[in-house]
């Protein structure tokens, strides 16, 4: 689910940015720093949409850097256990299939695929019902219920930041393993 929430972050700014454009510099640095990041707590930060408040700067001892506490509004994408959402199938094999909902990687194990669907190998591996009416293959759209999430912590080369850590978006949330298959919206890929 996408949410609009307010987050806080302490921004460190180099003295060369002080001056008339201080605020602008702060905001553009904030966008660069947080957009595309992900944390287990808040999910993926998709876009900063506004600034709520910029607190008083504090000069750090020994450096010229100043720390500003910034409160900002942003759109985040955060999956929840029990949530039902739609996703696009990216890969099918005999273990199950992979799908993507925005930046979130999803795996549906074959144990959770309905029993009446059989795996068919070939050029276009797929799961098909016995009567052939429903087919899950690459690029199909499926509707899933999330039964568990995992934030993969092995690849945290994180930029540590106070209470929450941010991880580069690509390595991130390998999370969401274990999804239950709910029902299919549309077996697309029928498009010629």
């Amino acid at each position: 689910m996408f949410f609009h929430i307010v987050l806080e972050r302490n921004m460190q700014l180099h003295p060369r940015y002080f001056g008339r454009n201080l605020r602008e510099n702060l905001v553009s640095k904030l966008m660069k720093d947080v957009e595309g990041t992900c944390s287990g707590r808040h999910g993926f930060v998709v876009a900063v949409t506004g600034i709520e408040d910029i607190g008083k700067g504090l000069i750090r001892d020994g450096t010229g850097f100043v720390t500003f506490p910034v409160k900002y509004q942003c759109v985040v994408f955060r999956p929840f256990k029990g949530e039902i959402l739609e996703a696009v199938v990216t890969m099918v094999n005999k273990m199950g299939f992979f799908a993507e909902a925005g930046p979130v990687q999803i795996f549906v194990s074959n144990h959770l695929i309905p029993d009446d669907m059989e795996f068919q190998s070939g050029d276009m591996p797929n799961y098909t019902t016995s009567d052939g009416s429903v087919k899950i293959q690459k690029d199909s759209e499926v509707r899933l219920k999330i039964i568990g999430l995992r934030v993969d912590a092995t690849e945290i080369d994180a930029r540590e930041n106070e209470s929450l850590f941010l991880v580069d978006a690509r390595t991130i949330f390998h999370l969401c393993i274990d999804f239950i298959f709910c029902f299919i919206v549309d077996s697309s890929a029928l498009v010629p």
Partner: protein, 137 residues
């Protein structure tokens, strides 16, 4: 991560961080990101490469899974659904998935019934309202 254990969207347990957060429907996010994408493109040609992957993926996702594309229709969906005293999360899920039958709606959002707030009739009315917006979009 014991906190993750306690979360369950099917019971509307979203944790304290998201309890009061505003939920957005895919259609709304689509309008927002599309707008933002235009802005980024205008700023400079180089920065097209700078669009973070997460942004790109979300944009593709919401474009593909938006039920309503017309801005007025999207506004209307939120307006109409808010008449039914739904939680933010329920509202967004219904708006995203647009169920067609009462049974489907209750499967998708079990809390509709668990609290005994909405009877079949009310849900039926809600779905009809949604259908009308879709029809006249």
């Amino acid at each position: 991560m014991s906190k993750l254990e306690e979360e369950d969207a099917s019971e509307l347990k979203l944790g304290e961080d998201f309890l009061k957060a505003k939920c957005l429907m895919n259609s709304e996010v689509s309008i927002l990101l599309e707008h933002r994408y235009e802005q980024i493109k205008q700023m400079s040609d180089e920065s097209i490469n700078q669009v973070p992957q997460v942004f790109e993926k979300c944009l593709q996702y919401v474009k593909r899974f938006s039920r309503f594309t017309n801005q007025d229709a999207v506004k209307q969906v939120r307006e109409v659904l808010s008449r039914y005293q739904l939680a933010e999360f329920e509202l967004a899920v219904l708006g995203n998935l647009c169920p067609e039958t009462v049974e489907e709606a209750v499967t998708i959002v079990p809390t509709l019934k668990s609290k005994g707030r909405l009877d079949d009739e009310a849900i039926e009315r809600l779905l009809n309202d949604l259908m009308m917006i879709k029809k006249f979009e």
